[in-house]
Point group: C2
Chain length 403, copies 2
């Protein structure tokens, strides 16, 4: 039907898209920031042709100014420009926060023609953007660059590594299209849409309705299934931009490529979870229904006691069971079974962990990645969410962030 | 109307109650347990006269065996004996867990006559009780002791200090009664009933209906308002035992004394919160209704980002605002105001924290205890919950617990 090829180069690989990232010193206190990984703080993505755009934003009621600014555009607007900055979320900044964006875009017009430009910000909440600094980036940008690397690095905050991914998709008829994504995110990550910015570009000739449908499904089975700390930010944004330049499209191929990109980027966020050492899948099945499976699964990926037990590599299934019981879903300790990967560690007949199985469980928990499977034994409800451990490092990062 | 006098001696001060605690080596791995504070692990409370009893238990669906054992007694049963143990929760132990309790009480009959004895356990989930060890305590107990100190210490797990409180209540007619409580709890603490055991004894001549009514209200405004980590255990128990021996009673006086005892014990749990250094009250007012105020307030006391900011003593009100926005309650950033104690740190007109106010906020956060007040400016809903910071020490305690 079609072939997917993973390619290097991130969002630069997509026809007609240009991008660059530069450093203008946005850090509120560069001397103490300690985030030496960050070699940029303002970036852009530009398309030579107008793009359809699909977006998903945070469920946080206090949506940041860039999101409110986006929402002022008419339905089904087209754009050719996205401006991004790190280190200042432009959140809780009121009407002034939106005016700042409009002022910045007025100045941008002196450099390059834009149509309905979009802004996207991440960083500290509660401070006005420094317009002068942001617009100083316009002198530094190469508007014809194809530098996904610098772009992906410029949006990083507490991220330890950049997150980018690109596919070339070959269809049966010999035509091909490209799809690629970058994202940032490491903390404040919650299943109700991770704290993250994600930008996906494509030259596929995809109808707008398909964009909406496929993006919703892709986000639900990727970013909405991960949790670092159960907090949901004011700025979460995922943008899908399509400039149609390849002329090629196949819905199944696009669906698969988009799902791969969003899932892999979500797993990268989790692997980069602040202070996290382990990526754990929490699979709940046999629940009364899928809603209850989701509640129990997300309770596990958000529980501090489960997360610290993962960090301690302690096969303490009692905390798993207790968290399910506390989540409020229907459950019964005589029908419940718990596995770590394929190892049965709890069932009605086999409640205490004998030394041999404890040893085996201990080995599994030493891995960087494994599965916790809880079968409630009651119905057909299933859900998987993904989480990580909670280490000293998480506390350090979040106690020291900002200052 | 009446006078409350705080007295020393804990639950031993109440007429007709006896109690003691001993050490029988219940630790699963004493060499590594590290809990050197704990000088006992099995304890009892006994009354010379039969007691009415009111109880509240965990909302966790996987209730531990002692709770299921309690629930087998007929409604309005009376008792004269409570046996407690630490280091083994007797939870997720199935029918055998209940049989173990029945066997233990059969052996207790050889030592002292009991009527409908109650058991209460705390510790690790998933292991059968060691009957031999528990019953070895019967040889060591002094059944006529009045040793609240040893009793309160025997039920400690990760607690750093024992928690006990006693009042003598003088009524207008010259009659008096006593009421006293002990409890344990430091982690796995959640507003939906803290992970804790709490035992309150009284010789007041209180009608059973009043016991039920006043205990419910007292628990709702104390233990159900605190959070260390948002986890709810399988064993939470609060027992109110009244042997009526004083013959004295006044409803208002009893209400006040009981509320004081439950609130003070709840605050002791929070001060002893695993790794906690600060006790913070999260007061949400101006919410659409009281339910929404409760949701927002509990979201604050449970947020990892808020808790780590408290630990970092960072006056980062953005995390407070973001957490309220993420909680799903109706809110508006133009009507919201945030205070630390009496210091306004956010309002529509005053969004950025100027250096002077930041300095003042910083000073408040250095205190061991302060208030975060969020007025949503929308309605009359109010709620206060109480939380603590999240430190390296919490992670250490919970990564290492059990092993």
């Amino acid at each position: 039907m079609f072939n997917l090829f993973s390619v290097k180069g991130g969002i630069s690989t997509v026809e007609g898209f240009f991008c660059d990232g530069v450093n203008v010193g946005m850090k509120t206190n560069p001397a103490n920031s300690g985030d030496s990984n960050i070699d940029g703080d303002v970036a852009f993505i530009r398309s030579e042709a107008l793009c359809d755009v699909s977006a998903r934003f945070t469920s946080n009621k206090f949506q940041a100014a860039p999101i409110k600014h986006y929402q002022k555009y008419p339905k089904d607007f087209q754009t050719n420009f996205v401006l991004m900055n790190a280190k200042n979320a432009n959140a809780m900044t009121g009407a002034k926060g939106i005016e700042d964006i409009e002022d910045i875009f007025k100045k941008l017009d002196n450099y390059i023609p834009t149509h309905n430009p979009i802004m996207s910000s991440t960083g500290v909440i509660g401070y006005r953007l420094n317009q002068e600094k942001i617009t100083s980036a316009f002198d530094k940008f190469d508007f014809n660059a194809k530098n996904s690397n610098k772009t992906a690095r410029a949006i990083m905050t507490t991220d330890k590594f950049k997150k980018e991914l690109a596919f070339r998709v070959e269809l049966d008829d010999g035509s091909e299209f490209n799809i690629a994504g970058i994202c940032k995110g490491a903390g404040m990550i919650n299943p109700a849409m991770a704290t993250m910015l994600c930008f996906i570009t494509t030259d596929a000739d995809i109808p707008k309705d398909d964009m909406e449908e496929l993006l919703s499904k892709a986000v639900n089975s990727s970013f909405n299934k991960i949790s670092v700390d159960g907090d949901t930010s004011t700025n979460d944004t995922i943008l899908l931009l399509s400039n149609k330049l390849s002329g090629a499209y196949n819905k199944e191929a696009f669906r698969e490529a988009l799902n791969k990109i969003t899932f892999e980027l979500a797993m990268m966020i989790l692997k980069d979870g602040e202070g996290a050492n382990k990526l754990v899948a929490f699979e709940v099945k046999g629940a009364k229904n899928s809603k209850e499976a989701e509640i129990a699964s997300k309770a596990l990926s958000n529980s501090l006691l489960v997360k610290t037990a993962l960090f301690g590599e302690d096969p303490n299934w009692g905390r798993i069971a207790s968290t399910i019981g506390a989540s409020g879903v229907e459950c019964d300790d005589t029908t419940l079974t718990i596995y770590y990967d394929n190892l049965l560690i709890y069932s009605d007949e086999q409640r205490e962990l004998d030394p041999k199985r404890e040893e085996q469980a201990y080995k599994i928990m030493k891995n960087n990645s494994f599965k916790v499977i809880c079968d409630l034994g009651l119905g057909n409800g299933e859900f998987i969410s993904y989480g990580c451990d909670l280490s000293y490092e998480y506390v350090k990062i979040n106690a020291e962030y900002r200052t």
